[in-house]
Structure formats: structure tokens, C-alpha cells
Amino acid sequence: MTGKYFGNPIKRLEDKQLLTGNAKYIDDIEVPGQLHAAFLRSDFAHARILKIDVSEALKRPGVVAVYTAEDFGDFWKPGPLQVPPPTAIPGSKFNARTLVPIAKDKIRYSGEVLAVVIAESRYIAEDAFDDIIVDVESLPAVVDLEKAWEDSSVLVHDDLPSNMAALVTQEVGNYEEAKKKADVVVARRMLIEHVAGAAMENRGFLASWDDQNQVMTIWANTQSPLTVRGSVSRALGLAESQVHVITPAIGGGFGPKVMTSLTDDVLLPWISKQLKRPIKWVEDRRENFLATTSERDQVHHCEIALKKDGTILGFKDVFYHNTGAYDSYGMTVPLNTQTHIISNYRVPNFYTQIRMVFTNQMVVTPVRGAGRSEGVFAMERMLDFAAKEMGLSPIEIRRKNLLRADELPLATGITGQDFVKNTLDSGDYLGNFEKCLQAIEYDKFIKETQPKAQKEGKRLGIGVVAFTEGTAVGPYEGCKVTVSTSGKVTMTTGYSSQGQAHYTVFAQIIADQLNVKVEDVKVITGDTNHFAWGAGTFASRGATLVGTAALLASQKVRAKIFSTASKALGVPEDQVELGEGSVSIKGKPDSAIPLGTLAAMANPMRGVIEPGVEPGLEATAYYGPPHGSTGCGAMGVILSIDEETCKPVLEKMVIVDDCGTMINPLIVDGQLQGGISMGIGNTLYERLVYDENGQLLTASFMDYLMPLATDMPKKLEIIHNHAESSLKLNPLGIKGVGEAGAIPPGPAIVQAIEDAFADKGVEILETNLSPSSIYGYLKKVEHK
């Protein structure tokens, strides 16, 4: 489907405000009379609180109030489970220990909030930290995932018998039987390191209680304004209509901004109501590292069983997943891992077990990639190890096992994050892979480029992997489309935006349906007074769910345009023509009525419609898919690496991607490129390091290295390989693309590094590869 706008690289409508410094982000919002909050955070990762004395802080000029857990009385309680437990999976165990808004009795991670200081300025609020006396008895910290799982471990939650947060086993076929029949079985233990979302804008929250009108207005850079509205109204005993959540411009999300029931969104509205003053809090970067949620951090114990010719008979993966100190976000991440391990290949027998474990670390929730990267990494690496063991090329083994277009849709039998059995719906997995091999010129590289470089004393390596991206999960999203009397169109949705071009792509869909100029469609996102139903921005679901809702709503409006015009023009509907911004009788341009005028006529006050007919050129629609979709693709990378410095240089990268129908290819490319930079960062630069005492050692950009412009591939090629079959999924055939780029760089780059050192037999078992860790791997084989 293409239209005047749909499917075309339309320039973004939101850019001008952003480019000129006119867009307002959370820290740009000022409400008269506002006070500032600062959070005193724990230096200890695990400790019992003996005493917190704030009396001196209260004496400091400019300090208005200081709160510790005790001051909140009954209001203090553990937060809700933001995502339900995996009850749909038989035999699963889940121990809910949800986030507390402020530590009481016990501290469970370094950075957990101990006191909230409210002052005239942020500078004063932070000064007051020096006045607060915190007395604790420190406890040994739980840091290592595998040790934490053992019965002998120190406990993060004293009331549980162990640190087990969850245990979920899923099996299709029978792995042990398959193993018996196998010619080759390969087993490995692999680490997938802990990384941050690290949006350039930190989190922020402003709560303003209007005592006169009894309304709480909240500005928050959240990915889920409706969840915030729901939890604030519940906590304060207000009607939802009394809580108005507004999302300003948001400086990137990438997952962590979906988390609620944190200190700010629970306590600041309460404090604002108490003090009857607006309260603003904006996180600093260190706080973001310490206490905003992060992800990855799994240890996989994998086994793959194969026939002599490389055919996979079975796969087993028992993995430890760090949930941090609490598990409010349920099991989205490890369930994504389970579905993605086998999502590209024919795996008749699959056994997978999640061992989700509490540790004295910040809470783990989805970050772009969200469990998918981990699953794909585990499978792709195991294929590489198996291929080496059997003397096959990494290409052959993949060709042999990749799913072909005619095998889809395929029910894998594994239940995913949406608690629905996973279906690989559409796509040409093998075709993607072949296209990628061609684009990266695999054969030429192996036959000419690599040997030639070798002669010149240069090391080059190549890696090619396949991936899928589970996208567009339910439950639903919605929107309202209205033609106003000026002829301009407004779409409102509860979905919030963090830079994904929603203001443009939704407008493209609507503009085509209503035949108006795209710039005449104004999209309002994430304002609960405009639209109050929906779930939130995550799992690459905006284009599919909100996009489809926009299509459905604008189709309804279109139908109303025709019925209203038919009355206004006095002709049957099939005689009505919808021109750009006006309606007329077919063949009689003189009869044209501007759309705005028609909108006025659609008001029963003075219009052509009779009572009983829904007024206005306006309609609301919702869309919820029966199950998530699956984007798919392949990635190839060629890199050079110097044996002395061990710094990889990405010479060329190709991504082949099938994200279904594209609303705007410019935006899709941007999503892929951004995702890829994150995947590169996760593989070569970024890592959250906790020491054995649970201290985060990388809480600034000096130590947590972000990928920069010079770290990107010298050449990056994007190939869209959209399978027509996706059209059956939803009316627009959209799958989603937000996370795709972040998924394959890990296994592709690691395979290429191993290839560059093939003569040495280097084997890499982790995701985070600083030059010094690559050097370590080299030394290890040299010493063998």
C-alpha cells in the first residue's frame, strides 16, 4: 500500500521546534512556585538502616521539607507489579518483590533512595545531603548471578527462602531424546553483559497539586503516561479524571522510561499535595546510572545437538537472568530471550529454563533489544561453535537450518512476553541471509579480500548472522481523529513519543485517508486529558498498533465525510468526490465544500445531521493484534583488527531487514541506524560494572563508554526485504522496527573477530569486548 504520503520519505513535521531550541523537555518546564526535590541515595548496596537523622537538614535555609520512609506512614508500600507474572506457563514460579518508593529498614541496591529533600533550589537540596546522618549496618552484597542462585547465598529479600525471583521452564519436543540421537553435542557457558539505556535526557518528574480545583497535573518524560495516571490516582485515592499526565518533548526512551512506581512518580505527587506546591525533580547522570533501570546481564549454559551434516536436532539453554533488587517488571526480558533463541531456525527439540535471580543491583527492565539480543546471541554463537567443531563453515550450518518462507507461519510452541504462544508469522529468513551474503560479498571476501590482506600482514574478519525481532505485542492502543472547522485535522493518542517520528508517520496515514496535506494533521501524543486509553511505548508497537488505529479511525471519519457530504450536496454518496481539503459532486468542482465547512455542518447545532447521529467529523478507534509480529533479517560485518592494539575497526556492515510495510523509509532507516549504534556500543564499548560489594563502578560517561561517530562502520548498507505475506497480519502489514538494529551486531561482530583470529583458534564467550578483553582472549590461546 502506498499513497500520496504513506510509504514515502516525508520529512519530519516535528523537527523545526526541536532544531531551534523551542521544544520543551521536562527540565524546561517551570511552574510558578515550584520547589525542587533531590534524593539522598544509599552508598551501600546491601545494608540495614539503623537511623536516619534529618534534623540538621531541616535547619538549613531554603530547605522546606525532608522525608524518610517513616514520614509517609501508611502511604509507604511496595509498588504494583507493572507486568503480570507468567501464570500462563504451566509450572512457572514467580516471587513478586516489587519496588519500594523509598528504602525502609533495608537497603537493597546502591543508589536506592533514603531521603527526599525539598528545597527552594536543587543546589540547596543537594547541600542538605551533608546535614543528614545515615547510620547503617552493612551486609554482604549479592552480586554474582550463579552464586546468588545457590541456597547458601546471602538473601536480598529475607522473607524468601532463596534469591530465586522466578523459575520458568519451557520445552517443545524432547531435548534429552534428541541428544541421544545426535552425532555431535556442543556445550558452552556464555555471558551477556549489563548495559544501560542511556537516553541523552535523564528522567524527570513535575507534580503540581491544584488545591482549589482538586486536580493533580503531572509532567513526566515517561513512555507510559497512562500507567502513571492510573497509579497516581490509585495511590492518592483520586478519580482518574483528577490526574492529568502530560509528556513534554522526550529526549529518548529506549526502555527505562517505561518504568513506574519509582520514588518520583510515587512520592512527589503525595508531597505536592501535602505542601500544596509544585515539586520538580530532574535526575542527574550519576543517578541515572545508579537507579534508573538497565538490562541484559544473563549467564547462559547452552547445549546444541546436531546431525553429522549440521542439521539441528535440539537446543538446550538454561540461563540465569539478573532482575536486580526487585522484579516489578515481571519477566518480559527473559521471556523474550526464550522466544528468540530458536526464532530463526528449525529446532524440533528445545528445552529452555529461566533462572531469574535477585541481586543487590538496580532493577532490570527492558532496554532496546530487551531479551531478544540475548537469545539471538546465544543461538548464533552456538551455531558458530558447532560449525567449528564439525568443520563446517558458519554459512553452511545456517543455510541448512534457517527457516524458509514457505515454512511460515510457524508456531514455535514457546510462550512469549505477551503470554501468547509465539508465532513466526512471515518473512523469508533464508532469503534475508542470502541477500546479506551477496551484499557483503562473502565469497569474494573469503577467496580474495581476506587472503590478500593476510599477505599484507593485515587481519580482516567477516561475520554473518540471522536475527528476528519480536514486535508489536498487544494488548491495544487507540486514537481519536477529528476534522476541525478550520479544515485542520487533529489526532490524539495516549501513546508517548521519544523521537520516533510519531508526529509525522501517523499524520501520513491520516492525510492519505482524508486527502488533506500532511502538515495539516496535528498529532498530540501522551496527554491523558486528550486520550485516556492505551498501554505505552515499548516493543516496537507504535507504528503497528497506533498506526492501525489511526487508519481505522480515519477510515471512519472518511465514511462520515461521505455521508455528511451526501446530505450537504444532496447527492448519493457514490456521487461525492473527496478532493484535497474539500468535497464536491463528481464532475462539478463548483459545488466544492471545504472540509472545515463540512465539519461545521456535522455539528447538529447548525448542520445537516439529525439528532441521533454521532456529531462531528470525528472518530475513535482501537487496535489490538491477536499476537505480536516478528520482524526478521540478517547482518553481515567486515572488520579489521590490529593484533597489537586489538581495536576492531568496522569496515563494512550490511543489514537486511523485513519490518513489514514501511510508512516512511527515512524513519525506518533512522531507527535501524540508531539501533545498530546501540548494538555496536553494547558489543565493543558499553558495560555496567559492579564490584563484589555491589558498587557500580561505571556511573559516568567517563567510565561507561558510549559509541561515537568514529566508532560507526565506515560503510553501512541497509537493504529492505519486506515480505508481502506480512499483509495478513494487520490492515497495513506493519511489523515494527524499533529494536531490530540493536539485536544482530553482537553475534555478527564477535563472529568476525573470531574469524580475524581464526588461525589462533580464539573463542569468545561474552558480549562486551573492549580491546583489553580481546587481548586477554588472545593471550589465553597463546598460553595453551
Binding site: L19, Y25, P61, A199, R285, G670, Q673, F701
Partner: protein, 160 residues
Amino acid sequence: MKKLFPITVTVNGKVYERQVEARLLLSDFLRHDLGLLGTHVGCEHGICGACTILFDGEAVRSCLIFAVQANGHEIRTVESLGTPENLHPLQQSFTDKHALQCGFCTPGFLMTLVPFLEENPTPTEDEIREAIDGNICRCTGYEKIVEAVHDAAEKMSQKK
């Protein structure tokens, strides 16, 4: 009460006289005292480049400078470039090439690139990447930013 120091700073051509605390960061001064909110703060420790401004014509990080140090100096922020109705050619290329997503890092990139393009009107791709190597963008993967700089350089040198 903390001691206040009088300062006089020219920002985007306008002279401001203010009393500030010695510890007030220039970034906070611009944003909260002068209300010039286009300068963003991403890390407060000089790494991300989001807070980049021009200090006597040179791109510097306003989170690493105290407001008092700006006394008597001339500052330009993103607000001095174009307006939504009349974008600066670099801003125009940024939107044409889709070089921004969330836009949070963008003012810092623009303020880094304006003096760069003045000094080097026809940069190579490597030079562009070097020039923006001190600015972090989490959204775009930098590809389209590099494209936009090429585009702007071409258009700006044609105009001359």
C-alpha cells in the same frame, strides 16, 4: 545567604547583568536564569556535548564553566541560529536528512558544527566524524548527521 557576584554577559547579542553564586554553572545560568532552554544538559561532566555553546566564538561545554567565568564574554546559543520559520542552513540540512530523532543532543551538535563549518567549509567524511566525536547521540547512529553536514557544507559554500 550565599555570596553573589555581579556579572555582565552578552548572550546572542543581548547584554545581561545578573547577580550569581560563584558555583552556578553556565549551563544552569543560561537555562534557568536567562530562560534560554535550547541548551541541554545530558551529563553535567563534559562528555556528552549536549550543552555546547559558543564562548567568544569557540565551541565549549557550558556544564564545565561557571557563570562567573563568563563575565565580560560573548556567548551564542542555539537560539541564535534560525527560527522555525527561517532555519539556518545547517538546521535545514538536519531536517532534510533526518539527522535528529529525539532532538535532545541536536543543539549541541549544531553549536559544535557551526564554527567547524566556518573553519572548514568543505570537510571530508572523516573530518566530519572527528568534529562530532565529542558529541553523543543515542538515537541516530550518527549516519544521517554526517550526511546532513555534507549537505549543509555543500549548500553553504554554494551560497558564498
